[in-house]
């Protein structure tokens, strides 16, 4: 039996206090789909969990044209996946959500838990990075907002200090000239962690690409941007030759490893293939 003590917090303040006072091996308990698996498989020593699901105000989802989409820490993958707003405006995020685990897992797993676990292969991170999302963080002394690209400091590591709690995520609004896509590559279609994941978010003005962000998952310790490939595409019409050259550049910019799911060489090749395809698919969103 992997025993631990369960604590239920009613406020952020109380949760934060418990996290600092109960000492090491104390963790926020959200959907539990990572935490309980890590406890059962003895991958993480856990003495105390602090359940944050009774804290009011962390379940909201709002959208407005200036701020964008904001959702709280308790919002599950399944709930966001089924929103028509997400389907229409954030097809990259939506495709990541629909590919995460099973329906049963998505009913419990949260997006905030997915980013806090900071797995290099987490599916929701690439689209959030490509869209330039922000992470809202509570501590007992202040609230801070961190661009998601700066939230990760390594595999499984984030900027969160002891006692800090993520309260939600804001994804900037999606204008009509913005195209998006997320492609996940695995050995099978469902119930599979990604071998490579590529998210693209791009803006077109009169047929010319005015901005583009490419985020690469599972090919580095954290989700990576491909800044040189992006620079090669800005100002172009995203014709086939430009896309091919940029996809080759993205292959150079990633730092994959070999593991049970795939070799480093295969992952690098797939970055090339998927970057090209994701750009094409993102362009089709305005067609």
């Amino acid at each position: 039996m992997r025993r631990f003590d369960y604590h239920r917090a009613e406020t952020l303040e109380q949760a934060s206090r418990l996290l600092t006072e109960l000492g090491d091996d104390t963790f926020v308990f959200n959907g539990g789909t990572d935490l309980l698996v890590e406890i059962r498989e003895r991958l993480r020593r856990v003495r105390n969990v602090v359940d944050i699901k009774q804290i009011p105000g962390l379940s909201d989802i709002t959208y407005d044209e200036t701020r964008g989409l904001t959702f709280g820490a308790l919002v599950t993958v399944g709930r966001l996946e089924n929103l028509s707003l997400v389907r229409q405006r954030y097809p990259n995020l939506r495709s990541a959500l629909a590919s995460l685990g099973s329906i049963q897992v998505r009913n419990r797993a949260t997006v905030v838990g997915n980013i806090c676990r900071a797995s290099p292969s987490a599916d929701t991170i690439p689209p959030l990075v490509a869209d330039g999302a922000f992470v809202h963080i509570y501590s007992r002394t202040d609230m801070r907002v961190v661009p998601i690209a700066e939230f990760f400091t390594g595999a499984g590591k984030t900027v969160l200090a002891k006692g800090e709690i993520v309260t939600g995520i804001t994804v900037p609004p999606a204008a009509d000239n913005i195209g998006k896509a997320y492609l996940k590559h695995g050995r099978r279609k469902a119930m599979e962690l990604s071998t490579v994941g590529v998210a693209v978010s791009l803006a077109m003005e009169e047929g010319v690409c005015s901005d583009i962000r490419i985020a690469l998952g599972a090919v580095g310790a954290t989700v990576l941007r491909a800044p040189q490939a992006e620079a090669m595409l800005r100002g172009t019409r995203l014709d086939a030759a430009a896309v091919r050259n940029a996809a080759d550049k993205a292959m150079e910019e990633c730092t994959p490893i070999s593991n049970v799911r795939a070799s480093a060489d295969y992952r690098r090749d797939m970055v090339g293939v998927l970057t090209g395809r994701a750009i094409k698919q993102a362009l089709e969103t305005f067609a």
Binding site: M1, R2, R3, F4, D5, Y6, H7, R8, G31, G32, T33, L36, V37, R40, E41, V49, D51, K53, G78, G101, S102, I103, Q104, V105, N107, R108, K189, A190, M191
Partner: protein, 160 residues
Amino acid sequence: MKRMVDFTVNGEAREMAVDGCRSLLDALRDDVGLTGTKKGCDVGDCGACTVLVDGEPVNACLMLAVEAEGRAVETIEGLQPDVDRLHPLQDAFMRHGASQCGFCTPGILMMAKKLLDDNPRPTDEEIRFGLSGNICRCTGYTKIFDAIKSAAREMEAARP
């Protein structure tokens, strides 16, 4: 430290004292005594432990019993509408031979019930997508899909 949990199982009010680290799955099987819900992997991969919580399918192995406080849990034991009558899905599973060792069956039936409640006429693709978190190592799935489609037709025909 044990905590008291008040919840309903298949419509019946229950109260139990459980350790904070006990899974809903272990509590259902060992404390409530309902062993129909199976433990295949205990880590969310197989779906054998699928139950409905407030109508939504979840893996009972990935939920703590204390989290069931105030909620309505439905298990395979509650699927039968009457003692002497099977749910159309159970009946179709028997007729189609959709169950061999039977270990996956309770989880698949609960998932299939939810699927048909939401979507009475699912396509083959929708059934496959809906069941992608339920693993069966015996049947090869074909008979399971046949049984679900057949139950869907019967339930549709029986509707007034």
